[in-house]
Symmetry: C2
Subunit: 210 residues, 2 copies
């Protein structure tokens, strides 16, 4: 659908906005016209927030989480448990796990999972730095918290092989029926896994809080 714009400034803004994921040209135009209706201060605040975000953010040297310093707030927090490292795919997963309030250890952000279809091999991910970190540090447990997909499982297994010789405990997130899900609609593989890995009912009372 060709749109004839009255202004190259508008056209430019629509082009840039429609590069964002999930935002087509119609939505981009709606957003641009909304920005035009707001006062100049709001437009500048949005534009500058985006520029500052991209130019100001760095990545933690230790865990590769986003940060404004060389070391992120989690890695530099002295009250966190430094013997446990939780391996996640991306920055959003760190936030998700932090939001549970159930974890007080450190993280390691891989930057993705092994996916030959997308051309992502182990060398594109922060796996070597994880192995170095575990070998050099006083880490006693590595928690694999990758997606329960074929790519996640492949990556889990690769990391497991790389860390295999080190004297640490390697765990992964429990797989089972999601809270709120009905048994009738749970797939067979999940149901089978959750039967095999069934836990003592009495334990569930103690396990609600860390």
């Amino acid at each position: 659908m060709e749109q004839e714009f009255a202004s190259t400034l508008l056209e430019n803004a629509v082009n840039e906005l429609s590069r964002l994921p999930g935002i087509g040209r119609k939505t981009a135009l709606r957003l641009a016209l909304h920005i035009l209706r707001q006062d100049k201060k709001s437009g500048r605040a949005l534009g500058e927030a985006i520029i500052n975000l991209r130019e100001g953010i760095r990545y933690c040297h230790t865990c590769h989480n986003i940060s404004e310093e060389a070391t992120c707030p989690i890695c530099s927090n002295p009250s966190r448990d430094r013997t446990t490292v939780c391996v996640v795919e991306n920055v959003k997963d760190v936030m998700s796990i932090e939001n549970t309030g159930q974890y007080r250890g450190l993280y390691h952000v891989l930057g993705g999972v092994i996916s030959p279809m997308d051309g992502i091999g182990p060398n594109q991910l922060e796996i070597t730095s994880l192995v170095d970190r575990v070998r050099d540090g006083k880490v006693s447990e590595v928690i694999l918290a990758l997606s329960a997909t074929m790519e996640g499982d492949t990556t889990n297994f690769y990391i497991y092989r790389q860390l295999g010789t080190l004297p640490i405990k390697i765990t992964q997130l429990a797989r089972g029926v999601s809270i709120g899900n009905e048994i009738e609609y749970t797939d067979e593989i999940t149901l089978g896994r959750s039967l095999l890995n069934r836990t003592l009912f009495a334990d569930s009372f103690n396990r609600t809080l860390l």
Copy 2:
């Protein structure tokens, strides 16, 4: 839902993005993380496009369409028919009508419709400037192209009353069954109007192009 952000830059970007219409905090976070994954040039291009849009755009002195000059490209185009003025609610409507390719006259952007519920009266709209423009100029026809809603009809009627004494033709967009709509699902008011205003079938051949 509280989100603990690792970075105030990220938090700030999410806050600003989530002010946009239809973008909640989850989507804003997804957009911000997308921007972080792109190169710095893309982030700066998006931010600057937004700032330049809001700060660079002006409104045409004649028709109040957006413009980069004091007079917009449509008003300054010598090949447009200067005797016809199409009255629309907003800038997007100008684009919609331009996209039909069926109109070669000028526009007048009201900036909304009369809506007492939202506190918008005739004085907040560009109605006086429309009357002045029609009185002073060589306009022979005003086309009312407002929404087919109660507010649109009220505004149409108000403008009609204001222009009533001037020797011009005042028309409005045809109301009828939308192209592609089935009769079964057309509401009774539209169907009644389209019966009353039925047109000669043979005319439809001639009317496909202006």
